[in-house]
């Protein structure tokens, strides 16, 4: 199916990315073979455009006109970073891991609250030392190997963290990973983190991508998550405060062991261009997957959630629920693919994507895909696109609520239904607050 694309000229950004790799290879520590192979794949594929099926609605080749440079390692705007960090904070009781411009910074992190049985190490150090386990786990199960953004991340990853949760450990406090971009001139970062959760362990993990100002940052993050048998992970990823020209690319490569549970949620209250791709493989029987997301977009913002849920074994259950509110000329993209392999009998899968279009110029693209090779399954998906219901607005107006408030009320309810999937109360409260702010800004405009 993936036939080579016709030869085309490289864009300026593609040239710059290749040049970055050539010039930075001395600074990029460890995993040199892996990096070189990934770069070779990227050179072959280039940045994905509309002709690449999985990137059809997010034409990265034309979005990424100029590839911003990566900051040199000695650039340390620590004070700015602290200020930026404060704005990215959502949980007061979490152990904090901070990456600044793509580099793990123990000095900015706060590991005092790290639960016993959980260790944190620098990925770059591990790769430099040739840590075989880290190297082996780094690419997940090869999911997304053909993806140009994953290839770029593998080739250019600067640093990241390796979080290990020992078997049976129930981490009482959440772990919050923050990727902070110091801002100023446009710059890029490539971060790869590895989270390994042992059998029977429990972990709450938050990942925040934030910038210290409204500059045009380009972040390419990848998180590899290995969930052991009977373990449970509650994961929330979010983006905050980025410039209108910012591009945020995030890839999750997750595998679930038998009897495990993974609840993932991504919250996007509006950034320039955001693409979240989630490759999740259910590798053990009786595992449960819940993925959710909420995107609130305005202006010319663009949010893309692309999932590949791979049911590799029988008796698993997956639920996906994504909602979008699209104002002005924003664009929402939902691509969800559920694969049920031949032996994955008794799979129970349901996927739903819903969008409310507020702006006349807004667009929504839905592509919920089912790829099913087993017969004893129950799988379904639903997708809706529409406006607020006139009848509902009328109902509220008839009860004396002015139209703008009625709209806000209905939108709030629409958003909350998605946010209810978040288990962490503090986070949920913060997101509800942010949704309120977003709606208030809409009313004010």
């Amino acid at each position: 199916m993936n036939k080579p694309l016709p030869i085309r000229t490289r864009t300026e950004a593609e040239e710059a990315l290749v040049a970055t790799f050539d010039s930075a290879s001395s600074n990029l520590r460890g995993a040199s073979d892996l990096r070189a192979a990934a770069m070779a794949r990227f050179v072959k594929s280039g940045l994905p455009d509309r002709r690449v099926e999985s990137w059809h609605y997010t034409d990265l080749r034309s979005i990424l006109r100029r590839a911003a440079p990566v900051r040199p390692g000695d650039f340390m705007p620590v004070e700015r970073a602290r200020a930026g960090l404060a704005s990215a904070e959502a949980q007061t009781h979490a152990a904090r891991i901070v990456m600044l411009d793509g580099i793990y910074r123990p000095d900015l992190s706060d590991l005092a609250l790290l639960p016993a049985g959980v260790t944190v190490a620098s990925l770059a150090d591990a790769l430099a030392e040739g840590d075989a386990e880290a190297l082996g786990a780094l690419t997940g199960e090869g999911q997304g190997a053909d993806d140009p953004v994953v290839s770029l991340n593998t080739a250019l990853m600067q640093d990241g963290v390796i979080v290990r949760v020992a078997a049976g450990v129930e981490a009482a406090r959440p772990i919050a990973i923050a990727n902070i971009m110091s801002g100023g001139a446009p710059h890029a970062a490539f971060v790869r983190s590895l989270v390994m959760v042992g059998d029977g362990a429990k972990l709450r993990l938050t990942e925040t991508t934030a910038a210290c100002d409204e500059s045009e940052t380009q972040v390419n993050e990848a998180l590899v998550l290995r969930i052991g048998d009977n373990a449970r992970v509650d994961y929330v990823s979010r983006v905050v405060r980025q410039g209108a020209g910012a591009i945020s690319l995030h890839t999750l490569l997750a595998t679930l062991g038998a009897g495990s549970e993974f609840n993932g949620f991504s919250f996007n209250p509006g950034v320039g261009v955001d693409r979240r791709q989630m490759f999740v493989r259910l590798n053990g029987r009786n595992s449960t997957l819940n993925l959710g997301g909420l995107s609130l977009l305005r202006g010319r913002q663009h949010a893309d959630s692309t999932l590949v849920v791979d049911h590799a074994v029988p008796d698993c259950r997956s639920r996906e629920f994504f909602r979008y509110i699209l104002d002005d000329e924003s664009t929402g993209v939902f691509q969800g693919k559920v694969v049920v392999r031949q032996h994955a009998q008794k799979t129970d899968g349901a996927m739903k994507s819903q969008a409310i279009m507020l702006g006349d110029g807004a667009s929504m693209n839905n592509k919920p895909e089912l790829e099913i090779f087993a017969d004893d399954v129950v799988c379904g998906h639903g997708a809706t696109v529409g406006q607020l219901d006139d009848d509902q607005i009328f109902y509220l107006q008839a009860r004396g609520i002015p139209k703008p408030e009625a709209e806000s009320l209905l939108l709030e309810a629409f958003a909350y239904e998605a946010l209810e999937l978040i288990a962490d109360e503090q986070l949920r409260a913060r997101f509800i607050e942010q949704t309120g702010e977003w709606l208030a800004a809409r009313g004010a405009a």
Partner: protein, 489 residues
């Protein structure tokens, strides 16, 4: 385990390649030499005494085809087609303009009899007193006879082979041919434009309700021939036509190529209902032989309040690549797509529709039922899109898949694109197997597994069957049962 063994034996005995329509008619036929080049295109054009503009049109398409690449995005897998190893033209020899059925080669008539096409009026009317069907039979690419022409002419309806329309109504053909499916639309449509041999042409004048159902029957007979028919239906303002299409092909070891193009044009307030029952030879149980069905079908709702409705029952072909679409250009126009796609053996189906909402208040409805059995793969691929100006566009899509057996696949690939805030799109899809409870209920009442499955499947596809004209609905129901033979176990 005994039960499993028993089932395996039974399936073996039934054998999916027990193709009911697998026979070869020995009729002398006239073939163009193998292969494709400009001379062949000219040869085909000359055979049909086509005017110069038509020859040029074909040659232009051929030249463009040379620059194109075969599409690979569909979820189908087949060995590369050697386009130079095919015959692009084969005509039954005795077709020097038959004026009536009596002039048609009796051998050919017997073929139709075996197929069960009601070519003669009395046959059609047997049992169905009130309905009339006019048949244009395309036998290896050449329209053999068109019945009921006089009566149709009285109503002003033009129903004739397209090769004839090129001569008798060049202004209509010139105006509409290629206006819905452009010459360069896709690889197979371009190939068709270059070498199309024949097909049906229908024109319904303004305000006329076509007095009978129009029908055409395609059959590929000659070895190694591709069939490239071209259908063009124009419903002028305020008119109505219902068109039926049926297809079969004899059983052969080699794969046969079928690349048709169907263009529908509905003007203001016009309605076209296009129904297809396709049971080309699907290949044997090992996937050997069978038809490659690469068809481009598209309807253009050009005028306000026009309506185009596609209904299809796809049970045959080794590979199906077919997306009957509607371009909803006129304000308040409506597109409908009802589909049953059944795959068994090693069949591969990649089918669906496109509903392109361009005008205001346009509505569309998609009901797709996919059933996969044996070792087949069945994909629904559809697109619904609303243009910026498609205010109040509405779509409802429902695609359900049913899986029978462990080795088949059912896939759903919908593209839902809305660029207008007032558009409301709803899409739902489910995939499941036949419920054990339902099967048990049926078997408990004395039905065999196979009967029970056929009953449940017929219930599953009922929404679509109801859309078919009556003569077709009965045939389709039988076909569904035949197609699923040997799949239960």
């Amino acid at each position: 385990m005994a039960a499993v063994k028993e089932t395996v034996d039974r399936v073996k005995a039934i054998d999916v390649d027990a193709y009911k329509y697998g026979f070869v008619t020995e009729i002398e036929s006239e073939k163009a030499p193998k292969g494709l080049n400009e001379d062949i295109v000219r040869f085909i054009s000359a055979k049909k005494n086509e005017p110069a503009w038509m020859t040029e049109w074909r040659l232009d398409a051929y030249r463009r085809w040379l620059t194109m690449e075969e599409p690979t995005w569909a979820r189908v897998d087949y060995p590369r087609i050697d386009y130079q190893d095919l015959y692009y033209y084969a005509a039954p020899k005795s077709t020097a303009g038959p004026k009536s059925l009596d002039e048609v080669d009796p051998e050919l008539l017997r073929t139709y009899e075996k197929l069960g096409i009601p070519l003669r009026e009395q046959e059609i009317l047997a049992g169905v007193q009130s309905s009339k069907v006019a048949v244009d039979a395309v036998f290896d690419s050449v329209s053999v006879a068109t019945t009921f022409r006089a009566e149709l002419a009285k109503a002003g309806v033009i129903f004739c082979p397209i090769s004839e329309a090129v001569h008798s109504h060049p202004e209509l053909v010139k105006k509409y041919l290629g206006s819905v499916v452009p010459v360069t639309d896709n690889y197979f449509a371009t190939l068709n434009s270059a070498v199309f041999s024949d097909g049906s042409f229908v024109y319904i004048p303004p305000g006329v309700r076509c007095p009978m159902e129009l029908s055409t029957y395609f059959r590929i007979n000659e070895r190694n021939t591709g069939q490239f028919e071209r259908t063009l239906i124009i419903a002028d303002a305020g008119s109505y036509v219902s068109y039926l299409e049926g297809c079969t092909a004899p059983q052969r070891d080699e794969n046969q190529l079928h690349a048709a193009v169907v263009e529908l044009i509905a003007h203001e307030d016009a309605e076209i209902k296009y129904s297809t029952v396709q049971n080309w030879y699907p290949g044997d149980s090992e996937g050997k032989g069978g038809i490659y069905n690469f068809v481009t079908k598209r309807g253009d709702c050009r005028g306000a309040r026009s309506k185009i409705s596609w209904t299809q029952v796809e049970t045959g072909s080794a590979i199906t690549w077919k997306y009957p679409s509607c371009i909803l250009r006129g304000d308040s126009s409506r597109g409908e797509f009802y589909s049953i796609a059944i795959s068994n053996g090693r069949q591969q189906v990649d089918s669906g529709t496109k509903m392109i909402h361009l005008g205001k208040n346009t509505t569309s409805r998609i009901i797709s039922k996919g059933i996969s059995a044996g070792r087949s793969n069945n994909t629904y691929r559809g697109q619904v899109s609303a243009h910026r100006k498609a205010t109040n566009a509405r779509n409802f899509t429902n695609c359900d898949s049913l899986l029978i057996g462990h080795d088949c696949g059912a896939h759903t690939v919908p593209y839902i694109e809305s660029k207008n805030a007032t558009a409301v799109f709803e899409h739902e899809a489910t995939t499941s197997k036949i419920s054990e409870d339902q099967l048990f209920y049926c078997t408990q009442r004395g039905l065999s597994d196979e009967e029970a499955t056929a009953l449940i499947v017929n219930g599953f596809v009922r929404d679509v069957l109801q859309q078919l004209p009556m003569e077709f609905a009965v045939e389709a129901q039988k076909l569904i049962a035949i197609s699923l033979e040997g799949s239960v176990g």
